[in-house]
């Protein structure tokens, strides 16, 4: 019996011939559409045949429909009271923004359930190893599972499409906004699927990976917002700033007849004032999927292109872009020299619109999703060198 310890790397000449040529089927990083499709079809067949899936689709649709109807009724009653814009200007954008957010919210809830148990659930059911030993590569298995859970998530998105269309038809919306938002919703659902897959390959128990995925989603959406708010005092303080304002001390005396005086001249002064440096923390807002969608959606239009209608997506866009720019280098408080439009604050939205934020947010989210997918691939690579605690190979 030869019991000498030898490193497990076996003779490099024997099988190196196969790996030097084109990558053979089944080695970790090889990908074929055939392999991905095989896995995705298997996953979807497994899911579609469970009736619960159909039921949850129906429940999802009913829920979105209910909220859409309520939003419609609400904005309608609000819109008729509004002084500007009227129905067409308010109902559409409000409804659209609200529905898009609601669909995103539900999608972020549903997607983890579709992906966060894909690997460890299979492992616990004893069906993972039998797939791994075939000529499917780890990459094909993971991408197939990603594709399947994404397609399933897209089914939920498809169910809500009629309601998004309804919100669009309520008027005042940019047609491009519908296309952009739906595409972004799809991309963000894929991100959540990728994160879920990563966690499902990382943890042994399905409950653990589901919780971790939900925590990640909550961190992206809620926690980041809370941290942003709480960190405001940390990035703020009293600072010397240059200010352009009226010098009331040098104002001419009031006209004794009318009681009105000429406006004082404006001039530059230095003074200490409280400044908030959100340009250091804006990224906390940018990674938020809701912000990504809101920022990317083209602004609402109205009939005469004059009034800024109430548009929740635009409000968020405005807020986050302002936050990114941080405080201005100098403050102009000289209202006397402003145009009448500026005084009404109407065009103010457009004047200090910064560059878009959503590409950063989307990129960060896509990186997270890709990270999850890569992690899953690495964890499914066979043969296993080390087994994580508590896992069985088969």
């Amino acid at each position: 019996m030869s019991t000498e310890t030898q490193p497990s790397s076996v003779d490099p000449t024997g099988s190196a011939a196969t790996s030097s040529g084109p990558r053979p089927h089944g080695s970790t990083w090889s990908v074929t559409w055939h392999g991905v499709r095989t896995v995705a079809r298997l996953e979807l067949r497994q899911r579609v045949r469970s009736t619960r899936w159909i039921v949850s689709l129906v429940v999802f649709g009913v829920l979105v429909g209910l909220v859409t109807t309520l939003t419609w009724a609400f904005t309608r009653s609000m819109g008729s009271d509004m002084i500007y814009g009227g129905m067409s200007g308010v109902v559409g954008p409000t409804m659209f923004g609200f529905i898009v957010f609601f669909v995103l919210f539900l999608g972020l809830l549903v997607s983890p359930t579709l992906s966060a148990t894909a690997v460890n659930g299979d492992r616990n059911a004893g069906t993972l190893a039998t797939l791994q030993i075939t000529l499917l590569s780890a990459t094909e298995i993971v991408l197939g599972k990603l594709l399947a859970s994404w397609v399933a998530s897209l089914a939920f998105l498809a169910v809500s499409l009629p309601f998004i269309a309804w919100a669009f038809l309520a008027g005042g919306n940019n047609p491009a906004a519908v296309v952009v938002t739906v595409l972004l919703l799809a991309a963000l659902l894929a991100v959540v699927c990728g994160i879920g897959l990563g966690f499902s390959a990382l943890t042994t128990r399905t409950a653990g990976s589901a919780v971790l995925t939900y925590v990640s989603v909550a961190s992206l959406t809620v926690l980041s917002l809370v941290v942003f708010g709480l960190s405001v005092p940390l990035v703020s303080g009293d600072e010397e700033v240059r200010v352009y304002e009226a010098d009331w001390s040098s104002a001419p005396d009031a006209d004794p007849e009318t009681g009105w005086g000429d406006d004082p001249e404006c001039e530059w002064t230095e003074r200490t004032q409280y400044v908030v440096h959100t340009e250091r923390t804006w990224w906390l807002l940018a990674i938020n999927p809701f912000v990504v969608v809101a920022d990317a959606a083209p602004p609402a239009v109205n009939d005469d292109n004059r009034f800024v209608v109430f548009d929740p997506l635009a409000a968020i866009r405005e807020g986050v872009r302002t936050a990114r720019q941080g405080p201005p280098a100098e403050y102009d408080y000289c209202w006397q020299e402003m145009s009448s439009d500026e005084q009404a604050g109407i065009t103010a939205f457009d004047t200090h619109d910064g560059p878009p934020v959503w590409p950063w947010g989307l990129a960060a989210n896509l990186l997270l999703g890709a990270g999850g997918v890569l992690l899953a691939i690495r964890r499914l690579q066979i043969p296993y060198r080390n087994l994580p605690k508590g896992t069985r190979v088969a």
């Binding site: 024997g14 053979p24 059911a125 075939t134 087994l387």
Partner: protein, 368 residues
Amino acid sequence: MSTSDDRTPPAEPDATAAPSVPAPPPADPSPPTTRPPVTVPPTSSSPAHGGIVARGVRRSFGAVHAVAGVDLDVRPGAVTALVGPNGSGKTTLLLVLAGLLVPDAGTVSVAGHDPTAGPAARAVTGWMPDSFGTWDSLTAREVLTTVGAAYRLTPEHAEHRAAELLDLVHLRELADSPAHVLSRGQKQRLGLARALVHDPQVLLLDEPASGLDPRSRVDLRELLRELAARGRTVLVSSHVLVELDEMADDAVFISQGRTVAAQEVAAVATQWRPWRLRTLDLDALVRWLEAAHVPWQPEPGAPPVGDFSPPDEVRPARPGGVVVQLDTEATAAALLRDAVGAGVPIASLAPASGALESAYLALEEERR
């Protein structure tokens, strides 16, 4: 090695059997820094055959040495039994052979390929784990066509192969029912069919008979014999030795992660082991055994044989049996002939335990 191609149905069983030699590097002195190349010691007559060769395989999980030094030669065209008690490392060894685990040390060659080096070995290996699940919502047929697709069979070929295998494991009536309605034994048969989808050169079966009814066990035995006859390499792990007795040609005994013995089952049959001798007249048999100086023991669990000293004509003949230790079947034949010649009404003479069981228990005995 043609395993990266889409596998087409081999026209002949041996078409894919091209024994690719895991050639020891031909005396190539170019890498001076490396150790002497790891070669498979030519212990058997065919050192680099298409079967399984393992040398010094070790694998630990933390402090547990699941496999602590296994040497294995499994020849093609034969059924080899992997025998060992629970927790002896059988399953871990099979995971290494199937290409799911990297051994900590040692070399493995499966049909000429290194299972740790890439998918080439996986392409020619069929593996049936000891416990596995099925995709519950898929029908039995879909399970097999899916696995076929995973092995890069064309859809037509996978379909054809699925139908063939469903016939083979007698699941044709259940072919289009979802897998979750299958019983445990039926799932086990489906698992066997799944391991055979790509017509593997090497078959690794971990406790394949557990949960099978007697008819299915016979079918399994015949199937494995047929696969071996067609040149396949079959390694079956089990601790139910009786069923291995009838299908295995070779046996490898492992205990506590080590190979403790490897022998041919036929050779095991020539060892001393207990035989059960049954008669219609126990008193006559015992008298004859005493006279012939054949050592015997009462059958385990039988009532005491009693006092035979006075020839008792009054007592009627009573049936019964004893256990005798015999070394070969020739000895058994001689004993039988003599006893019958002496007028003892012999009913049967058969090994009290299977050949593997005796060998296994003898090994256990040595280890104590």
